[in-house]
């Protein structure tokens, strides 16, 4: 059985499982890890900020953390959280912060080389617009993670539509995401200049594609694809926590 066909049979490794896999090619694993960090760096920044650091030192710490994190290729085997990238990353950040507290030098060294580009300005701006109270830094991290994931999938989906020349359609329809049965089909039909029936079909298609992409995206962050569902549930709990 060729490995390509095995992939199709459902065994394609996820990014995180690649990173963890002992047998994976080193470059592939590095690339996978870098991709994951590029997507999910904001929750780390948010966490560092909430731990009490001001925006400048949070920026330095976050960059320093990722520099160290990406250099180190040995994912610690003894780690309990390796099944989920989200949890693993948080653990690593906490370790880093406690190390950094002990030695200022670690901080300075890291700030120079970073292979994850952070838009610190945007990060700070976003951080300031988040609601302030009541959450622990860990809870805020999870919430930010969930939002990052959802936004990322939305961005990818938009790019997919734009690639087919349907960017306007996406922008017009994206409100249906999360509306359940409360979709105002008539208004949408008028706004988009289409029939109500057509809008229903398009809306359904949009939601289906979003769901597909979302499942795939979250599966990328877990070692065992069967955990994806559970991870999603956990993220929902994080989002629904405060009303």
């Amino acid at each position: 059985m060729s490995s390509a066909s095995l992939d199709r049979a459902g065994f394609a490794p996820t990014r995180w499982s690649l990173v963890l896999s002992a047998r994976a090619n080193g470059t592939r694993a590095d690339a996978a890890l870098a991709e994951l960090c590029a997507i999910y760096w904001y929750p780390v920044y948010g966490f560092v900020r909430r731990r009490g650091h001001d925006s400048e030192s949070a920026r330095d710490l976050t960059q320093g953390f990722f520099a160290r994190f990406l250099e180190r290729r040995d994912v610690r085997r003894a780690d309990q959280e390796r099944g989920r990238f989200r949890a693993y990353l948080l653990g690593a950040v906490k370790h880093f912060l406690s190390d950094a507290r002990k030695s200022e030098r670690a901080l300075k060294r890291g700030a120079a080389h970073s292979s994850v580009s952070l838009d610190a300005g945007a990060a700070e701006k976003r951080y300031l617009t988040e609601p302030a109270g009541g959450e622990t830094p860990e809870e805020a991290y999870e919430r930010a993670w969930a939002l990052t994931l959802l936004e990322r999938v939305a961005a990818e989906l938009r790019a997919e539509y734009a690639g087919a020349g349907k960017a306007e359609l996406y922008d017009g329809l994206k409100g249906v995401l999360g509306q359940g049965e409360h979709v105002p089909y008539r208004e949408l039909a008028t706004a988009l200049g289409k029939s109500e029936g057509a809008v229903k079909v398009l809306a359904h298609e949009l939601r289906r594609r979003y769901g597909e992409r979302l499942h795939r995206a979250v599966a990328e962050t877990v070692a065992d694809p069967a955990d994806a569902e559970d991870e999603l549930r956990g993220l929902l709990a994080a989002l629904a926590r405060r009303k």
Binding site: M1, R77, A154, G178, R208, A240
Partner: protein, 534 residues
């Protein structure tokens, strides 16, 4: 107009970015509710053909799911013409040494299990680069699909849980722990029978030492929301009680549709079920293993008793017919009568006993014979508790109480004139001690049970003191030991599981049964001595 709050859940809507105007929580909730798209149809077909090529003795029909360790196909064994489930493990993983070892252990552990509530393993091995398991095919849905479809009224949940318990108990007795009990691993066939699948993380308790060297560090297995706390903090110390925790989570989810996360509402407040199930769920979800149910069969018996109330007798008889072991006094449970009848019979017997004794001129050995009316009084009270008839219940309890009180008085003083008041007090206090002790056996929390036990003990001491006040201190001590043993022993024996419910802790039951035996021996010795002298 720009909406600022989600019309479905009331959360604040993001005002900029990719998700402007979209509620993230609802978005995620919707995506979770929709079943995952399995990927392009023809991709699946091609994978299937390749599997078929490797397994010529099977007719591979369709892919039915992705399990914890690999992909599952529905197939037919050509020669036997029976349907089977073929589980194939991801080849990438089988090259990993520890995984291969775990697979072998899973297969062997499962192959030993043969039970209606456990998915049977027919065969396992290696073909090409793939490791596979051949299992019983279960026609029907996993519990997860049923929960999603919202097809689970509480009665069904209550029919499901005991079956899971039966399967777990069977496996636990053979040293197999599942470690990943969750709705995805619980299959329900067309007849409503539940089968536990995917013992993929089975740990053989008797090979604990071997496991310590093979397990990679403290790698956690299992699904977090269903995992017992000790699975995360000290995985090597995990035993069968982790499955009981997971069972508790599943039970809660079946009843309420939600996971017991953080501070959660009791199930009786979210679903229309008996409030006594709350205690069952809480006890299964205790964070410390020692405070949980210690055996799946205990969960099962509690659930069944609460579900079936007075039909517990019928239920027991069915189960005993199916090969269950018979606890002492099992025949009592088969009396097809309302508790009122039992109470009445016991009361009559007790009164007759005391009357007969009372008519005797002289009682060899003294008045302690009256004490043997005590058990009739208790039986009357317990029988009354199980009765469905309202007025009868109170009346029988009161009458039973009186039998015990009178018997106590008569025991301590055949001749009512001597120190009469003290005797009456001693009798009443003694019976109160019994009632408090009895209620302590039913407590869900250990602290309350301990407090009540102490109160019962204090009452016993008080009764003995009263008795001693009208006789000699030596009599008081004899009273303390004798009556104490009779009270606790009778309560314990009448509290054997499956006869009366809920079941008190086993060790305690054994202790009180021994105490009762001691009391009977003591009484016989005393009587025979007195007989010889008298």
């Amino acid at each position: 107009m720009i909406e600022t709050k989600c019309s479905r859940c009331g959360a604040a809507l993001p005002r900029e970015g990719e998700l402007e105007g979209v509620c993230p929580a609802c978005l995620l909730r919707d995506a979770l509710a929709a079943p995952e798209e399995a990927g392009a149809e023809d991709d699946q077909q091609r994978g299937l053909a390749e599997v078929q090529a490797l397994f010529e003795d099977l007719e591979v029909l369709e892919r039915i799911g992705r399990g914890g360790m690999g992909v599952v196909y529905k197939a037919r064994q050509r020669r036997l013409d029976r349907l089977v489930a073929l589980k194939i493990l991801a080849p990438e993983r089988t090259r990993d040494a520890s995984f291969g070892g775990r697979f072998l252990r899973e297969a062997r552990a499962l192959a030993r299990l043969s039970h209606p509530n456990v998915v049977t393993v027919y065969d396992f091995g290696e073909r090409g680069e793939l490791c596979y398991l051949l299992m019983e095919y279960v026609e029907g849905q996993g519990l997860r699909e049923r929960i999603r479809a919202g097809e689970l009224p509480p009665e069904q949940a209550l029919a499901i849980v005991p079956q899971i318990c039966a399967g777990l108990q069977y496996a636990h007795e053979r040293g197999v722990v599942h470690r990943d009990i969750k709705p995805e691993n619980l299959l329900v066939d067309a007849e409503g029978r539940v089968k536990i699948a995917d013992f993929g993380l089975a740990k053989l308790l008797e090979h604990g030492a071997e496991l310590a060297t093979i397990t990679r560090g403290s790698q956690v297995m299992g699904t977090p929301h269903y995992m017992a706390p000790e699975q995360a903090t000290s995985p090597l110390a995990v035993d069968h009680r982790a499955d009981i925790y997971s069972l508790g989570v599943v039970f809660y989810e079946l009843l309420t549709g939600e996971l017991p996360v953080g501070v959660f509402e009791p199930p009786s407040r979210k679903a229309r079920v008996d409030a006594r199930f709350d205690e069952v769920v809480y006890k299964a979800l205790e964070r410390e293993p020692a405070r949980r149910y210690q055996a799946a069969r205990d969960v099962q018996s509690d659930v069944e008793h609460i579900s079936h109330g007075d039909a517990g007798a019928r239920l027991y008889a069915e189960r005993a017919g199916a090969g269950g072991e018979a606890p002492p006094l099992a025949w009592l449970a088969r009396i097809p009568a309302d508790g009122a009848l039992v109470a009445a019979a016991a009361l009559i017997a007790g009164v007759v006993w005391m009357a007969v004794l009372g008519l005797q001129e002289r009682l060899p050995g003294g008045p302690y014979w009256f004490a043997l009316a005590y058990p009739f009084g208790f039986l009357a009270m317990r029988g009354a508790q199980r009765s469905a008839l309202p007025g009868v219940r109170t009346a029988a309890v009161v009458a039973g109480f009186l039998v015990c009180a009178v018997s106590s008085v008569l025991t301590s003083n055949h001749d009512l004139e001597r120190g009469g008041a003290f005797q009456l007090i001693a009798g009443a206090v003694l019976v109160s001690s019994h009632l408090v002790f009895d209620s302590s056996l039913r407590c869900a929390t250990r602290e309350i049970a301990a407090i009540r036990g102490l109160i019962a003990f204090a009452l016993l001491v008080l009764a003995s003191a009263c008795h001693a006040a009208s006789y000699r201190p030596g009599e008081g001590i004899a009273y303390f030991f004798g009556m104490g043993a009779i009270v606790t022993g009778t309560t314990g024996v009448l509290s054997t599981p499956d006869v009366f419910q809920p079941a008190p802790p086993r060790a305690l039951l054994r202790a009180v049964t021994v105490a009762y035996a001691v009391a009977v021996v003591f009484a016989l010795a005393y009587f025979s001595e007195a007989w010889r002298l008298g």
